[in-house]
Structures are given as structure tokens and as C-alpha cells.
């Protein structure tokens, strides 16, 4: 039970007063950004990164805060989904089906309670999985050489592109755009400038915080300007946030099954919370059979996707931490933050920086407990934040984004770049290009190029080296498979989305 003693050591770190504060602060911020329109975890994390760098926080505290925002946002997202039928992310679309049906029946309170409990179950069970499997994967990943890493990154790109939804061609173009942004600046090997347009500011390359905030936050501001009603959202009355023992017992197995499923899907790159929640919902619907009231306000219809997407969010931490290869836009931003803090995630992370990994894992238990405590009695407070008029909310978020972008390099030129990326991001949304692959391409691009060049230098220019080892071959096979898988999965999810009858205009972002 080596993991257990390590985890106990981790609790020693997570329970330091400062880190408890960061976990609480992170999950509270996460709940807000998950709930409010137009921010989302990816922007909140990107905005916090310059602040963290400026404050000189130790890496484990920084990670506890940022990851708290990440999984906390999954809880917050379900609040606006259940009460307003406005899923902020694609992964909450399924929750809306039964969650909002319950709200219409005047059972919004029980829906919120079951979602908080299911999120807690999904969150805590998957941390158990993280603690169990991360060390195993790490010992296995030590055998990865540059060729295997290159193949793994190709897998990550192809998986995210194919699961991003919509046209594969457009997703691949978005990935290529991100890779192109990664090449901007001085080439580290040959020291020649690439695509700098003669600008000194671009020699250091594109900063991922500037690109992310431009692509996601600024383009969201443009998109929100399209919606002409400046009014405020009105949440339905939801009553007491509690659930009966009978309903809880009925959804117990649903939560456990969905957590396991969500975790496994989350570990795979690209798939993430969206696929996890769709799969969990359709599985539970089938298991319930005729006894279920799925689609008409069944508690299990809320419990399944909520356990699954929280478990998936935590499962996604495994490839990020043990391989250093994220599978989504948000985890790519987390990787960028880690690299900026001087932490290189990979198989050696657990050995070299045990405090970071075990402290984080323990803090996730602490954070999930906080979330349950926050969400059950305090939903009313959070809901009041939904009533803040848009003309105050959006400009305030924009100002936070601006100051964060300025703080990256202390340069107003970055604000110009940010605006340009905002326009590009808006056009990409308009023409149905997913945004997450751009961020993944930008953050992983330099690593991918480095590993390709290293592999080729070792082989003396023989391309065969990329397909030499069994591990690499498996990864290439997975990459090819991931390009085919969504054809099948999409059929299932389209069926579900149709039955959900959600308005297209609510526009859930492609980020989980």
C-alpha cells in the first residue's frame, strides 16, 4: 500500500492552511465560472495564470487552485443547466434533458441536490482511480522514447479533432492552425525566425494565455453581442435543495457505474466529459428500461451524466500528469501553466515531485467535499449571481481578461494580438471550426516538433523509426481508430440531442 502512504503524505500538503484556502477559492471560482455565461473554465484558468506567475506561488499551490477551478466548474455548470436549460458546455447538454424536466415539475431543488451528490460521487471515485492508475501508467510510460511521444501526440490531435464534433476537416484545420501558431518565433534548433513578420515581439513566440483569451473570451464577447436582449436570466423557483432517501438509493448504482464509465472515457484523449455524459445517460436509460422516466424527469437521468462528466474531468488528469500530453483545450492550458511554473509533467513527475502529484490528489478530495458543502445549502447565493445584468457581467469579465493579457509580458501589443484572435475565434465559431484543437496544437506543437526531430536525429534520418516499437505501433493504430470511432458515436449522440429538444441558439461551447 505504497500509494496509501503517499496519499496520506499528500493530505499533509493539501491540508496546509494556504492550500485549503486555494482549494476552496478554486472551487468557488469554478462554480461561478461554470454557471455564468461566457466565461468557462478555460478562460478562468487562462486569466488566473499571469496572476499566479506574478504572485510567485509554489507549483503545488498553483495547481491546487487551477485544478479546483477546473473540476469546480463542472458543478457550477449543472446549476444553470438545470434551472435555466442553458448548458454552458457540451458535456452538460444531457443533464438538461431530465434536469430541466424536473425543474418544470417544480422539483428543481431535488435535481440540484442529486446533481451535487452525483458530481461528488463521480469526483471522489475518480480521484481514487487517479491515485491507483497514475503510478501504473507512469512506470509504463518511462519506456516512451521520442518516437513514442510523437505518436502519442498525433493520437491526441486526431482524437480531439475527431471528437470535437462537426466536420473532421475543419477540426484538422483548427489543429493545423494551432501548430502553425506554435511555430511562430525563433526555431529552437536552428535559431532562425519563423512567421514573425519582422516583429520583435513575436520572436519569443505566441503566448498561449494571449491566444486562449482571445480565441475563447473575446470571441465570446462578440458572440454575446449578437444576442440582442440585454435582459437578465430568470431562474425558476426550485424549492429546498434536498433529495429523498428513496431517490438517492435508486440512483446509487447509476452513480457508481457512470463514474467508472466517465473515468475510463476521461483518460482517453479527446473524448472527455461530453462523450462520457452521453454514454452514461444512454447506458442508464437502457438499463432502466420501461421502469425509467428518462426524458421526463428521472433522477437517474441527472445522476448519470453528472457523475460521468466529473469523473471524466478527473480522469483527464492522468494523461496530463503522467504523460504530459493533454487531451482537451482546458487541460492543454493547464499544461501550459505547469510548464510556465517550471514543472514538466511526465512519467518522472511522480518520482521527482511527489508533493505536487499527491498534494494535488489529496486536495481534490478536499475540494470535492467543499463543493458538496457549498452546493447543497448555498445554491441560492450562486443563483443570485445569475441575475447580475449582462451589461455589468460581460464587461467585467472582459476587463479581467484584458489585465491578465497585459500582465503576461507587460505589453499593450498583446492586447492587439488578443483582439485579432478574438476576431479569428468569432469567425471560427461562425464557420463551425472547433476552438479547443487550436490551443492543444499551440501548447503541444513545440513538444511534438522537438520529439520528431529528436527521434529522427537518433535514427539518422530514417522515418521508419517512428513505427519501430510495438508501443508506437499501438499508438498509431489508436490514432487511426479514433478518426473512425466518432462516426459511430455521433449517431448515438445526435439521437439523444434530438430528443433533448434543445435550442441551437444557446450555443454550448466545445470545451469541457
Amino acid at each position: 500500500m505504497d500509494s496509501l502512504s503517499q496519499l496520506l503524505h499528500g493530505f499533509g500538503i493539501a491540508l496546509q492552511p494556504l492550500n485549503v484556502g486555494f482549494a476552496l477559492g478554486g472551487v468557488a471560482v469554478g462554480t461561478f465560472v461554470g454557471m455564468l455565461p461566457g466565461i468557462g473554465p478555460i478562460n478562468a484558468i487562462a486569466i488566473l495564470i499571469p496572476v499566479i506567475f506574478a504572485a510567485g506561488m509554489p507549483p503545488e499551490s498553483a495547481l491546487i487552485l487551477l485544478v479546483g477551478v477546473y473540476y469546480g466548474s463542472q458543478y457550477g455548470n449543472s446549476i444553470s443547466t438545470i434551472l435555466l436549460n442553458v448548458p454552458g458546455t457540451a458535456s452538460a447538454v444531457v443533464t438538461a434533458i431530465d434536469g430541466h424536466a424536473m425543474t418544470r415539475d417544480g422539483r428543481g431543488g431535488p435535481a440540484l441536490a442529486i446533481s451535487a451528490i452525483a458530481s461528488f460521487v463521480g469526483g471522489t471515485l475518480s480521484i481514487f482511480g487517479l491515485v491507483l492508475f497514475a503510478p501504473v501508467l507512469a512506470t509504463w510510460a518511462i519506456r516512451f522514447g521520442p518516437a513514442e511521444y510523437f505518436a502519442l501526440m498525433v493520437f491526441a490531435f486526431s482524437a480531439l479533432s475527431s471528437f470535437a464534433g462537426g466536420s473532421l476537416m475543419r477540426a484538422l484545420a483548427a489543429t493545423a492552425f494551432g501548430l502553425w501558431l506554435a511555430t511562430v518565433g525563433l526555431d529552437p534548433n536552428s535559431a532562425i525566425p519563423r512567421y514573425t513578420f519582422g516583429r520583435l515581439q513575436l520572436l519569443d513566440g505566441m503566448d498561449f494565455v494571449v491566444v486562449t483569451i482571445g480565441l475563447f473570451a473575446v470571441s465570446e464577447v462578440f458572440q454575446l453581442l449578437e444576442e440582442t436582449d440585454g435582459g437578465r436570466a430568470t431562474a425558476a423557483a426550485f424549492g429546498r435543495v434536498a433529495v429523498s432517501g428513496r431517490e438517492l438509493a435508486r440512483s446509487g448504482w447509476t452513480m457508481i457505474r457512470s463514474s467508472v464509465l466517465g473515468f475510463l472515457v476521461g483518460v482517453l484523449p479527446g473524448a472527455g466529459g461530453t462523450i462520457a455524459s452521453f454514454l452514461a445517460y444512454s447506458t442508464e436509460e437502457r438499463i432502466a428500461g420501461a421502469s425509467g422516466r428518462f426524458g421526463r424527469g428521472d433522477v437517474r437521468g441527472v445522476a448519470a451524466p453528472e457523475s460521468a462528466n466529473n469523473a471524466a474531468a478527473n480522469g483527464a488528469m492522468i494523461p496530463l500528469l503522467t504523460l504530459g500530453v493533454p487531451g482537451s483545450g482546458t487541460t492543454a492550458v493547464l499544461l501550459g501553466a505547469l510548464l510556465g511554473l517550471g514543472v514538466t509533467p511526465g512519467p518522472l513527475l511522480l518520482e521527482e515531485q511527489p508533493d505536487l502529484f499527491w498534494g494535488l490528489a489529496a486536495s481534490m478530495y478536499v475540494g470535492n467535499a467543499f463543493l458538496l458543502l457549498l452546493n447543497l445549502p448555498m445554491v441560492g447565493v450562486f443563483v443570485r449571481a445569475l441575475q447580475v445584468p449582462r451589461w455589468i457581467l460581460i464587461p467585467s469579465v472582459a476587463a479581467l481578461a484584458f489585465v491578465a493579457v497585459y500582465a503576461v509580458n507587460g505589453s499593450a501589443f498583446d492586447l492587439v494580438l488578443m483582439t485579432l484572435f478574438g476576431v479569428v475565434g468569432y469567425l471560427m465559431r461562425t464557420f463551425d471550426f472547433p476552438l479547443a484543437p487550436v490551443v492543444l496544437g499551440l501548447v503541444l506543437g513545440p513538444l511534438m516538433e522537438k520529439n520528431l526531430r529528436r527521434a529522427m536525429a537518433l535514427s539518422g534520418g530514417d522515418w521508419g523509426v517512428l513505427f519501430d516499437s510495438p508501443i508506437a505501433l499501438v499508438l498509431w493504430g489508436l490514432a487511426a481508430l479514433s478518426l473512425l470511432a466518432p462516426l459511430l458515436l455521433r449517431r448515438v449522440s445526435e439521437e439523444l440531442a434530438d430528443s433533448a429538444g434543445l435550442a441551437e441558439a444557446s450555443g454550448p461551447s466545445d470545451e469541457d
Binding site: 476537416m169 536552428s190 519563423r194 473575446v218 451589461w391 464587461p395 492587439v416 516538433e449 529522427m456
Partner: protein, 150 residues
């Protein structure tokens, strides 16, 4: 939202394909005196160029039926916001963080159909809070404005 035909999608495809070609042409100039590795600095840009060109041509050949373009007044407000952000970037070193941020928040609040007094108040509150947080707490310098310090 107004829907236009497949023309807009075709145009976007053409732009993407041309961008891909441009990236490829620029990459041919990445010559190094002696190669430190067999791959060199051109490989990744070429991969990008090919992917974008193929995707662009694909869009050109098989465009979507309809693209939702913003209606006229929304497009005007978006252009005003983008212009405002650029003006903000240009003005910040000159008139300082405090005044420029107050103005950009007030302007954006106005575009979101808020009352202008409320927007100005929100701008002042935010600028003050952000100034205190960044300059006082985090010791991160924000521009005071060359106009006032001369």
C-alpha cells in the same frame, strides 16, 4: 441571425486554402546553413500548409448549406467592440491603465445596452479594484500613462 447561402462557406474555404499556400511558400525560405537535425525547421510548417490547403479546398468543393452570419446591427456592435479593444491597446500606454480601462468597460456596457452612467460606474469600480489588486497586492506594474508623468 440571418442565413446566407453556401457562398460564405466557399469564401472561407478559399481563404483557408490561400492561407495554407502562403504558409507553405514562406516555409521554403527557412534555410539554415547546416542542418542540426535531419528534419529541419520546414517540416512542421509544410504539414500545416498541406492540412490547411486540403481542408480549404474541401470546404470550397463541399460547402455547408447555410452559414449563420450576424444581422447588420449586431455586426456593427461587434465591429465597434473590436475597434474599441484596439483603441484601448493603443491608448493604454498613453492615458494609462486606469482611465483606458474605465472607458473600455463603460463602452462595452453601452454596447450591451446598459445605461451609460451605470457603465461608467462599473468601469470606475473595476479599474480601481484591478489597480489595487495588481499594483498594490501583486506588485505588477500597470501603465500610469505617459501623458500624466511627463
Amino acid at each position: 441571425m440571418s442565413s446566407r447561402g453556401s457562398g460564405a462557406d466557399r469564401a472561407a474555404g478559399a481563404v483557408l486554402a490561400l492561407a495554407g499556400v502562403a504558409v507553405g511558400i514562406e516555409a521554403t525560405t527557412f534555410d539554415v546553413a547546416f542542418l542540426t537535425d535531419p528534419v529541419g525547421p520546414k517540416a512542421l510548417p509544410f504539414l500545416v500548409a498541406i492540412t490547411c490547403t486540403v481542408a480549404g479546398v474541401h470546404m470550397l468543393m463541399t460547402p455547408r448549406e447555410a452559414v449563420d452570419l450576424p444581422p447588420g446591427d449586431a455586426a456593427t456592435r461587434m465591429a465597434a467592440a473590436a475597434g474599441g479593444f484596439l483603441a484601448y491597446a493603443a491608448a493604454m500606454p498613453w492615458i494609462g491603465f486606469f482611465l483606458s480601462t474605465t472607458l473600455v468597460v463603460a463602452g462595452l456596457a453601452y454596447l450591451f445596452r446598459g445605461p451609460w452612467k451605470g457603465g461608467l460606474l462599473a468601469g470606475l469600480t473595476l479599474s480601481t479594484a484591478l489597480w489595487l489588486l495588481f499594483v498594490r497586492v501583486l506588485a505588477l506594474p500597470l501603465p500610469v500613462g505617459t501623458l500624466w508623468t511627463r
